[in-house]
């Protein structure tokens, strides 16, 4: 089932009737989610990603715009008639019911021709429980489960109705780091097995990058970029997207373009064509700079952090917006830590220019 969002907008009126400070939570969001894909809505808190999810679920009504499931316009359809499964951030498992009762609850609401016999309900509940591997825990209460197990129960409860679309609100935020890794693989597996179009919300870029087919990066209610995780990472549309994706974060420096050369301070670090003379922000991915004796970009060396496979060269430069400039290199490469400075070579495809005025990407060709 593809999901189409058309000019979706949500405006929350101001609480105080006198003031005019209404909040635009989501602004003019258009996007077609292809059938059977796992889509991550990604952004910092307050960017409208959860509001978008709740509009797809029907728990919130859009101020304007349309939502289609397949070819059906569901904009005016109430939540229960949309055929969605929703996993809440804190799971919202009914505390007084056992795991089995929780999973069966949505089935018991079915009426008319969809009504199931007790045995059918049990079979379906067990099937869903098996899919998320909690079929051993059916008689427990939610309070007797770990966070990860509760999460699985919540997913089973959302899946048991065989929804057309599965929605997950911050599915991993309540889990510890280890469980998070495991659960995100699990979500990926369940989504692939069921083939249900799935939308999930997260503020954790690593989470979104690792399991999504498509990510949507949002900021203050406005979509910044949509694409495959790797292509968004490799080809950010603006400074915000570049900064938001990647750990450790991208190095950002102030610089300028003059006569076809990019300058950081008075060092010319790259020759480019197709760019006018202007002030720019320069973004360089940590894996895009490499210490070399004949490097073009010289920084003050702080220290080298070796972390097994990789090493991180920490240096500073006055033009940098962040306190340090970080380079991730293989730990085999030797860096003279006694030296005051370090010289880097820059890989052009990890090197981005952004307009200082609009923070939009400036495309160029390397000479």
């Amino acid at each position: 089932m593809k999901v189409v969002l058309e000019n979706l907008t949500k405006i929350f009126p101001s609480r105080d009737k006198k003031s005019q400070n209404q909040v635009v939570a989501v602004s003019d969001f258009s996007f077609e989610i292809p059938d059977g894909q796992l889509v991550g809505l990604l952004g910092p808190s307050g960017c409208g990603k959860s509001t978008t999810l709740y509009m797809i679920s029907g728990l919130q009504k859009p101020t304007s715009g349309k939502i289609y499931f397949g070819d059906d316009d569901v904009t005016e359809l109430s939540t229960e008639n949309r055929g969605i499964g929703l996993v809440f951030q804190n799971y919202a498992l009914y505390p007084h019911m056992t795991v089995q009762q929780n999973i069966m609850f949505p089935l018991q609401n079915l009426t008319g021709k969809d009504k199931l016999s007790k045995q059918q309900m049990l079979d379906r509940a067990h099937e869903a429980a098996k899919l998320v591997q909690i079929d051993e825990l059916m008689d427990r209460k939610p309070s007797e489960l770990s966070g990860g197990q509760q999460q699985r129960v919540a997913i089973a409860r959302a899946l048991v109705k065989m929804p057309r679309v599965l929605l997950l609100d911050e599915p991993l935020s309540n889990l510890d780091a280890r469980l998070r890794l495991q659960t995100r693989e699990e979500i990926r597996r369940i989504q692939k097995e069921t083939g249900i179009t799935t939308v999930f919300v997260t503020h954790d870029q690593e989470e979104a990058m690792s399991i999504s087919d498509i990510i949507v990066v949002m900021k203050l209610g406005v979509v910044q970029q949509i694409g495959k995780p790797q292509s968004v990472y490799d080809d950010p549309a603006n400074l915000f997207v570049a900064k938001f994706l990647g750990t450790p974060p991208i190095n950002v420096l102030e610089g300028k373009v003059l006569d076809g050369k990019v300058y950081i301070g008075d060092q010319a670090v790259m020759s480019v064509s197709g760019v006018e003379d202007m002030d720019v922000y320069i973004g360089i991915r940590p894996e895009g700079i490499e210490p070399a004796p004949d490097g073009v970009f010289e920084c003050k060396l702080n220290n080298v952090e070796v972390m097994g496979r990789d090493a991180s060269v920490v240096s500073t430069h006055t033009a940098a917006l962040s306190p340090v400039i970080r380079a991730i290199i293989s730990s085999d490469i030797h860096v003279d830590t006694a030296s005051e400075t370090v010289k880097y070579n820059i890989k052009p495809h990890k090197f981005f220019l952004f307009s200082k005025e609009t923070e939009e990407r400036i495309y160029f060709e390397v000479k």
């Binding site: 229960e80 929703l86 809440f88 505390p95 949505p106």
Partner: protein
């Protein structure tokens, strides 16, 4: 370990509370036990130098009183009728109040007003409402009725003698039940509304996603999640019900019944007061202990029944 030299300070700070508890709680409890087991004990007689044998005479006498059984019956009837009615009504009102946005605060205030109003005053208002206002003029009854009878007449019914001389026991009890339920509602609504507002809204969102009908949301989600508050309201309701006294006074006055049948609506607590007035502290104490035993047993049964259904 606290320095032992400082112990006297701790006792000093605790002493006001301890002294008050000893004088007004511990001693009376002990004294009640003592008096209950001294045969035919009375304060005036004790001052007069009489001595009393130890035994269970008081308990036997109390149970043999016809009035006592009447009091027990009245109390039990009022409890059994008012606690379920007021709990169900309070639940429905609380759920309704919780689900409306406009005027919620105003309605909340209105529903809470009886709680801050003197129950004797409310009783007098109820008495006036259910009263036959006109008095007998010779053999002729002036037909100016209280507002309830006016309403009944407006809808074409026959006026009922609710509480005046010649009224029936059923009519008397009906008035008492209406009054006690109305009086008990605000506290229960307050507790249940507080409970409702502390239920996580996401449970309702989850139920909505699953298309749960309203009635099922109430029975499968709201009531189970509210069960600790419901248990509290039911148990305290029974305890309060067994101590019912001032509400009868409010409507029927100290006669505890209609003019021609004083004492017909007397309760357990009323029985204790009557015994005290007649200088029969021994009987009063015995009756109080019986009341205590009944409340204890009912509460234990309540706990047992409720335990299976409450989800903390």
């Amino acid at each position: 370990m606290v320095d032992s030299k400082k112990h006297w300070k701790a006792w000093l700070y605790l002493s006001p509370a301890i002294i008050l508890l000893l004088v007004f709680t511990v001693w009376p409890i002990f004294n009640t036990l003592r008096m209950a087991f001294l045969n035919d004990y009375g304060n005036m007689a004790a001052i007069g130098g009489q001595t009393f044998g130890f035994g269970i005479q008081n308990f036997i006498k109390v149970i043999e009183y016809k009035e006592f059984l009447q009091c027990l019956q009245n109390t039990a009837l009022l409890c059994v009728a008012t606690v379920p009615i007021s709990t169900v009504l309070a639940l429905l009102i609380a759920v309704a109040l919780n689900s409306i946005k406009p005027l919620q605060k105003t309605l909340q205030t209105i529903f809470f007003l009886p709680y801050v109003t003197n129950s004797i005053a409310i009783g007098m208002v109820f008495a006036a409402m259910f009263n036959i206002v006109g008095l007998k003029q010779g053999s002729h009854m002036a037909d100016t009725w209280g507002i309830i009878n006016n309403v009944i007449q407006f809808f074409g019914g026959e006026p009922i003698n609710w509480i005046n001389a010649g009224s029936s026991y059923v009519a008397n009890m009906a008035v008492m039940i209406i009054y006690i339920v109305w009086n008990a509602l605000p506290f229960k609504i307050l507790i249940l509304l507080g409970g409702l507002q502390s239920i996580n809204k996401q449970y309702y969102d989850a139920a909505k996603v699953d298309g749960t009908p309203k009635r099922r949301v109430l029975t499968r989600i709201t009531i189970p999640l509210l069960s600790p508050m419901l248990a509290y309201v039911i148990i305290t309701g029974f305890i309060g019900g067994f101590k019912e006294y001032s509400s009868i006074i409010g409507i029927f006055g100290e006669k505890m019944g209609p003019a021609d049948d004083a004492g017909r609506l007397n309760t357990m607590v009323g029985f204790v007061y009557d015994a005290l007035e007649r200088d029969r502290q021994g009987r009063a104490s015995a009756a109080a202990l019986i009341l205590f035993a009944i409340i204890l047993i009912v509460t234990l049964i309540n706990n047992k029944v409720i335990k299976k259904r409450v989800h903390y």
